[in-house]
């Protein structure tokens, strides 16, 4: 069975790009554009990994991660953001990997593989 990824990205074109590219890698991708929709999806379905942006309107990625940690501690989380400078702040406690958005998705794909094969 394919591994299931929950993707949270408020930028619609990026959301579409990631969804398509990760699906091509053979993952089942559920893409949502805000934190509330992500929490809803988590309540409904089991996921093997979460990829989330940080800066989003409404609840941001950090609030989302805090909520998730309160419920499920076992899902690996990747922060995928345009901000380089957040890395030190959040890597230690909030996420298993931190990827700075790039037009090449290689790093994101590699981190996903690494965490799912663990």
């Amino acid at each position: 069975m394919n591994k299931r990824i929950l993707l949270v990205e408020d930028e619609k074109p990026l959301c579409l790009l990631y969804e398509e590219e990760l699906s091509k890698e053979g993952y089942d991708v559920t893409a949502v554009t805000d934190a509330d929709a992500a929490l809803e999806a988590l309540d409904k379905d089991p996921f093997d990994l979460i990829v989330t942006d940080i800066r989003m309107p409404g609840k941001d990625g950090i609030e989302l991660i805090t909520h998730i940690m309160g419920r499920r501690r076992d899902i690996p989380i990747i922060i995928n953001t345009a901000y380089q400078s957040y890395k030190e702040d959040f890597m230690t406690w909030a996420a298993d990997a931190y990827v700075v958005k790039s037009s090449s998705l290689d790093e994101l794909k590699a981190k996903i593989r690494q965490l799912l094969d663990r």
Partner: protein
């Protein structure tokens, strides 16, 4: 019984004692969006505003680094000129604004021979063996000089220019720091300078010193805010620009892959186009916001500007989907603002109102005079409203609740309103729409 009084009385009480008159002129200038130069001009004006009040002439030196430099010299050059000026100033209905404007014109005019004569007078500040007038600043003392031609401590070059035997030097101090000096005389009327005059002048000196001091602090604060804003801006721009670049790169990579279906090829090209458009918009907005300075405010007729914003294609395109109301009190006054910035402010507020309000909602523009001397232009919507924490951050650059907003519209509005000495006020609650009120200074149509 409660009686209300207005701080902003525009007319001087001509029969008031001269101490009151002086304080009235100076304190009222606080209500005006005057620059430092203008505020100092108000002080000099107050000191010389008529034959019966204060002095004939007032000269201002300002501290620049470790030098004291001649800046402004206000007053008549001859008895004839004095008569003319004092006649104008004693015309009934002439308020302090007119007096300051009259003096400003005088100082800025090229033929302003008095100010020109002192602009190359420069003294080292803080030197122990300084000559008068700089000596007063060095000693931080008020000096009354009588019989100046016989006094060896008076700088001869200065004496050649001022050509009076009696004058008063008032250092401008704030926090024990010398920020300038005022020199006063009665060259025309030859009235001796009395103890009352000295007291009044020293009071004005204190106020002027504090003007300069607070203007300096304000400048420093603006610099600090600018630096902080630059940091925030760099971070925000990284985010704003990286997202479209990632999308452009990602969808371009897909285009390069063989076997991409035609519909997806078209879609990708469309997305790339849109993202490039977005990048252009970001760059345009940044450029707009970073414009170093806004134009000087003037009193202008807002009617054509309001019409052009309301009739613009952007507003007209939105209008059918909303209930739009415009209520402007009859006889629009002239508002104090740069007209172009005013139009952009109104456009921004309307954009926000439409963005926050779902179609079918109401957007209203109102304009009316308040009894306390302001003209209010308000934009109200029936949209989603603003949360309290968001309200605190609304006017900070790069804060936005819009999906693709830059967070630069309201900071721009704030900047414009600050520049013209107006105010912006917001009232809103979640789900209850928002009301933005702009307060302008105004004058009835001329």
């Amino acid at each position: 019984m409660i009686e209300k009084f207005d701080f902003k009385s525009s007319e001087l009480e001509r029969d008031a004692p001269k101490e009151m008159m002086l304080l009235s002129i100076i304190s009222q200038s606080f209500f005006q969006p005057f620059s430092l130069e203008d505020n100092l001009l108000v002080t000099l004006t107050a000191l010389t505003s008529g034959s019966g009040v204060g002095f004939n002439r007032a000269m201002l030196f300002l501290r620049e680094g470790d030098r004291l430099k001649g800046e402004m010299w206000l007053g008549p050059g001859s008895a004839q000129e004095a008569g003319d000026i004092w006649e104008v100033l004693s015309t009934p209905g002439i308020g302090y604004i007119e007096i300051v404007e009259h003096n400003r014109a005088l100082v800025r005019k090229n033929e302003d021979t008095l100010s020109r004569r002192i602009r190359d007078l420069v003294y080292a500040a803080g030197e122990g063996n300084a000559l008068i007038p700089a000596l007063a600043s060095c000693r931080k003392e008020i000096l009354l000089v009588k019989g100046a031609r016989e006094e060896p401590l008076v700088d001869r070059r200065f004496l050649d220019i001022i050509q009076v035997d009696e004058f008063l030097c008032i250092p401008l101090l704030a926090r024990d720091e010398v920020l300038g000096e005022i020199v006063l005389d009665n060259a025309i009327t030859r009235t001796p300078i009395g103890p009352g005059d000295i007291k009044l002048a020293s009071l004005c000196g204190l106020i002027a010193g504090n003007y300069i001091y607070s203007a300096g602090l304000h400048r420093k604060l603006l610099d600090m805010e600018k630096t902080a804003a630059m940091g925030e801006m760099a971070m925000f721009v990284t985010h704003q620009i990286r997202n479209p670049i990632v999308a452009i790169g990602g969808f371009a990579d897909q285009l390069l892959q063989p076997g991409l279906p035609e519909d997806k090829r078209e879609r990708n090209i469309r997305i790339i186009r849109e993202e490039i458009h977005r990048l252009e918009h970001i760059i345009f907005q940044m450029g707009h916001f970073l414009k170093v300075s806004l134009k000087e405010p003037v009193y202008f007729d807002p009617a054509p500007v309001i019409s052009s914003v309301l009739d613009s294609p952007e507003v007209q395109a939105k209008k059918p989907a909303y209930e739009m109301r415009v209520e402007l009190e009859d006889g629009l006054p002239r508002l104090f603002c740069d007209p172009t910035s005013f139009g952009e402010v109104l456009r921004n507020l309307l954009d926000n109102a439409f963005d926050a309000t779902p179609p079918g909602g109401r957007v209203s523009v109102r304009g009316y005079r308040k009894t306390n001397g302001w003209y209010v232009l308000s934009v109200r919507d029936t949209g989603k409203g603003i949360t309290n924490p968001d309200k605190d951050r609304l006017f900070k650059p790069f804060f936005t609740t819009k999906e693709k907003g830059m967070g630069l519209g309201l900071p721009f509005i704030k900047r414009v309103m600050d520049t013209c000495g107006g105010q912006v006020e917001v009232r809103s609650r979640v789900g209850g729409g928002a009301l933005f009120k702009l307060y302008f200074q105004y004058r009835e149509g001329e």
